[in-house]
């Protein structure tokens, strides 16, 4: 059974920019669960490519401050202000910040689903990272 939607309008889309695939995919899944369309970018360069593609219809950008690319996250924010000032940019300086911002977006998201706690999201990312790091050491 699908969740009821808040509004009949087009699905809002979020561009998530995060160079850590583990946190990126967990946050992206979280936002999709809340009903958003999500575009994932691993670098600020990919983000600009995505933003230059009008068909992707991005409304909000959620960017980890540590995202890599030919320009830093603040450079991406500056680019957006210059080229697409109508877009909302949210920068987050930590995993906890990204999760909290995603939770805020979910509170006003298109689906009437209570978002799961951002702390659970952070814990899950940390578990995956720990498992990855252990595997890397062996």
């Amino acid at each position: 059974m699908s969740a009821p939607t808040r509004s009949p309008g087009p699905t809002p889309s979020i561009l998530i920019v995060d160079s850590d695939v583990i946190s990126r995919h967990v946050i992206a899944d979280y936002l999709r669960h809340c009903g958003y369309g999500v575009v994932e970018a691993a670098t600020t360069d990919e983000a600009i490519t995505a933003l230059s593609e009008a068909s992707l219809g991005i409304d909000v950008i959620l960017c980890d401050v540590g995202a890599i690319g030919s320009q830093p996250a603040f450079g991406l924010a500056h680019w957006v202000r210059s080229h697409q000032p109508q877009l909302e940019v949210r920068l987050a300086g930590s995993l906890e910040g990204v999760a909290d911002t995603a939770a805020d977006l979910c509170e006003s998201g298109p689906h009437l689903i209570k978002p799961y706690e951002p702390e659970a999201v952070v814990d899950y990312v940390k578990q995956l990272r720990a498992a990855r790091n252990r595997a890397r050491e062996t």
């Binding site: 695939v21 583990i22 995919h25 992206a28 899944d29 575009v39 994932e40 970018a41 691993a42 670098t43 990919e46 490519t49 995505a50 593609e53 992707l56 995956l128 990272r129 498992a131 990855r132 595997a135 890397r136």
Partner: protein
Amino acid sequence: MHVVKEALDAADSRPARLLVVEDELLIRMLITDVLRDAGYEVIEAVSGDEALDLLKAGVVFDLVLSDVRMPGSTDGLALLAFARQNLAELPFILTSGHLAPEIALAEGAVGFLAKPYGMHDALAVVEQEVAKLR
């Protein structure tokens, strides 16, 4: 019983979880949209290195669709080799504009898509392989 089969047995009704590994953003957007619209759960990696990170973190997948030539230290063939050693039953479909299909299959891929591929063709190949898992 291998982890992939266990995951499927444990939750028969859940959608198959696919890992799509593709460095070209627009191709990745297109194929992941098609696969999600078809009902699959899709996790994206932009490189073989990212895909390796996900596999090493223990994220369970039912199938991998991976490009071969990608930036970083892990190309599609190296990713496939890692999976063959550590996740023997995880099926791989390779995509490439350069690699011969016979080589992909000889290396252990279960399917191959020559680039540029049509999205319907890609979906058909994925559906065919996922059906074998059920």
